[in-house]
Symmetry: C2
Subunit: 204 residues, 2 copies
DNA sequence: GCAGAGGTAGACAGTTCTGTCTACATTGAA
DNA sequence: TTCAATGTAGACAGAACTGTCTACCTCTGC
């Protein structure tokens, strides 16, 4: 298994191999379910090497979250840029659809981590929150600049989070798109209200 | 610790004590993080007794999810009934607010379980999905009966799920209500579109 | 009065987990 | 050349986890 990854990855330095392997395992199976032994085995690295780079599993978790944040957000921005510029919030629908349809889709790593560790890893909670804040800021760029911009961006983000967890539950089920249609409906009416508020501002 | 619970619970039969204790631990700390030894210690029960009632931890997880489903849904229905009947979807806002403000709030047990066990406990996924389906059906009773009823109920449910995970992230932070304001905004416009569609049906 | 259900107490096996440590190999730069 | 960094291989300790098993107790219904 993971032949593609192994051959692709094997020439990279050990720290990167560990981080990429941990990312895949943590995201797919959950953090607690992925033991250190499994990570080092799949990364093709010795235990001493692992503990040289990451003094504890918690350090690896931190690195995983930070790496995931960067990777997801840059994908998100880029995917949005490929959409038409005048779609407003509706640009989000095909972007989310692309993500949800990825066979490796397992929901939002940050929501999942917050669910897995509650208060027991408080720094994770903070990272999750700042991840969501950055997402809101990106969404805000899709909206006209006015006093309701951030309010609408926040609402859109909450709707997206809802669609994310719904798609996660439905991902096992064949042919299920209720998450996406619900999201599209909400974003559509949010979008209209954003246009309305722009118009009302113009007419003032 | 848990004096109140212990004195309150100690006279109940063992199976119930185990289930209630497991509920509190699983919900608060996560399922994987709560070992059997911990459950039996806090339930004040011997190991043999535990394994007489629940042949394996997975059986306990199943019982936990089913108990949680019943308990949450009956609370949800009852809380909605205490709201004004003519509020439509807006009845959901104070109900969710009450839940989010509970100091024991830790998000939706089903979303959290789905996040913790991915494909590795497939029955859990199904239970989560049917839990959400039941929630949608309750929400639908708040809406006028027409062809868009279920579509709107689904959209409202997705928005609620989004608010649930947001409130979970924000629960640590003092004074944060963005989850609730975003939810209120979405439900408000969904509600308006539901009223509009009722009117348009009447005028047909 | 006795059988069986339900309970306690806790030792035990077997696994898995995190983290440490020893011994040795390779390589690049001072 | 020699030193330090980076790597491999894997034994080991100590804890925690699930699940089994033995031995004994207590109550209730027949």
């Amino acid at each position: 298994m993971n032949l593609k990854q192994t051959t692709f990855i094997s020439d990279k330095p050990a720290r990167e191999r560990i981080l990429l392997t941990a990312h895949d395992l943590f995201y797919r199976d959950g953090i607690r379910a992925s033991g250190i032994d499994r990570v080092i085995a799949e990364a093709g690295v010795s235990k001493a090497t692992f503990y040289r780079h990451f003094p504890s599993k918690n350090e690896l978790i931190r690195a995983f979250l930070s790496y995931r944040h960067e990777r997801w957000l840059s994908w998100f921005k880029q995917a949005l840029q490929h959409q038409g510029a005048d779609l407003g919030l509706m640009s989000l629908v095909p972007v989310m659809e692309e993500w949800f349809n990825n066979p490796l889709y397992r929901g939002c790593a940050f929501i999942n981590t917050a669910a897995e560790f509650g208060d027991s890893l408080p720094e994770a909670l903070e990272l999750c929150l700042s991840h969501k804040q950055d997402m809101v800021n990106v969404i805000a760029t899709l909206l006209p600049v006015n006093e309701s911009q951030m309010i609408l961006a926040n609402a859109a983000a909450v709707a997206i989070d809802g669609a994310i967890v719904r798609a996660q539950l439905e991902s096992q089920i064949i042919q299920s798109k209720t998450a996406l249609t619900a999201l599209a409906l909400i974003l559509d009416i949010l979008n209209q209200s954003s246009i309305l508020s722009s118009l009302s501002k113009l007419s003032k």
